[in-house]
Symmetry: C2
Subunit: 189 residues, 2 copies
Amino acid sequence: MARAGLTRDRLIRAGAELADRVGFDQVTLSALARQFEVQVASLYAHLKNSQDLKTGIALLALEELADRAADAVAGRAGKDALTALANVYRDYAHEHPGRYAAAQVRLDPETAAAGAGVRHARMTRAILRGYDLTEPDQTHAVRLLGSVFHGYVTLEMGGGFSHSAPDTQETWSRTLDALDALLRNWPPA
Amino acid sequence: MARAGLTRDRLIRAGAELADRVGFDQVTLSALARQFEVQVASLYAHLKNSQDLKTGIALLALEELADRAADAVAGRAGKDALTALANVYRDYAHEHPGRYAAAQVRLDPETAAAGAGVRHARMTRAILRGYDLTEPDQTHAVRLLGSVFHGYVTLEMGGGFSHSAPDTQETWSRTLDALDALLRNWPPA
DNA sequence: TAGTTTTCCTAAAGGTATGAGGCAAATGTA
DNA sequence: TACATTTGCCTCATACCTTTAGGAAAACTA
């Protein structure tokens, strides 16, 4: 019997594509096994279990996102950088909804620390260099930006804005204007 | 055989409590049947299927949340109202993590329209009466507020802010200060 | 009290996850 | 090239969750 050439890496990538195609919660070892024309139990040689696959996809997504983000903010500053970073998240979520959903799974602290999560925080902080914020306001602002990016994308994709008089693209750019204005005029404690 | 007194309503409430206790994704018909000491198949007399239970919990959560929100904003205006509404979401999510997770499930349009979703949008809009915004900026602002509330709560509960130098309570109140300032100084298009 | 409806049951089939143990293909060694 | 070892995938077995179909007993209704 010819070998399918399974690899942890190939499985996780295939899982990510599957997630984008059918939704992250539909990603199952069975579906993956079907795709490779292999018995489900065979996957256990490469993956600890179903959870392992899911965190693998999550870490992959975080990595890809961080790579894109690093590209986007390089050589930009101020509102330019803010917009670029924000668009990275939004575009990625639209292009890869399954991966984006995966990136939201709760990871245990060590896994999270080992992953690309810290890179994200660092890049958001880098953007704030173009604005005049000192600690602890900088941290507050990092968290606010993270909340807006994540919250907006989630609601937009979940259909929360669907009954849409002004289209969401318009709201998105006005939101970025607003955030820029806010960061330039951060209220004192 | 004594009857268990099953009801669609009781089942959904029990499901909501179960969700808060063990997590929304662990809510299963089997677990619910065990709790009522009843065969799983018996539940199908009251629930269409597993999905039906989940959307039921989601609608319940949206309803409860809207009730609390309505209470909170009544008789308040401006930043006072903004803070009260924001705290409703955050507190509810902390008190009822399973229900809050349920409230995020994607509902098909008719179900969503029949539910309390519209009340939420209306209340957010009501808050903006205390600020000087006209359409379409008002809609943009509604969406921004929704994004921040939802995004912040999700990230906070998901441990995204865990490595916490300034504690999250501090960030939360500074975030509300910032939003208030932003709404008072909304940048022109 | 007889009939109807409602509520719960048993039985059965199908999908997913996971573990134990086995054969065969690929790779290393003489 | 022959043999040994490792590794990749398989079969078998178990267990849980979901869903459908049909039956019996309780509760309501007339």
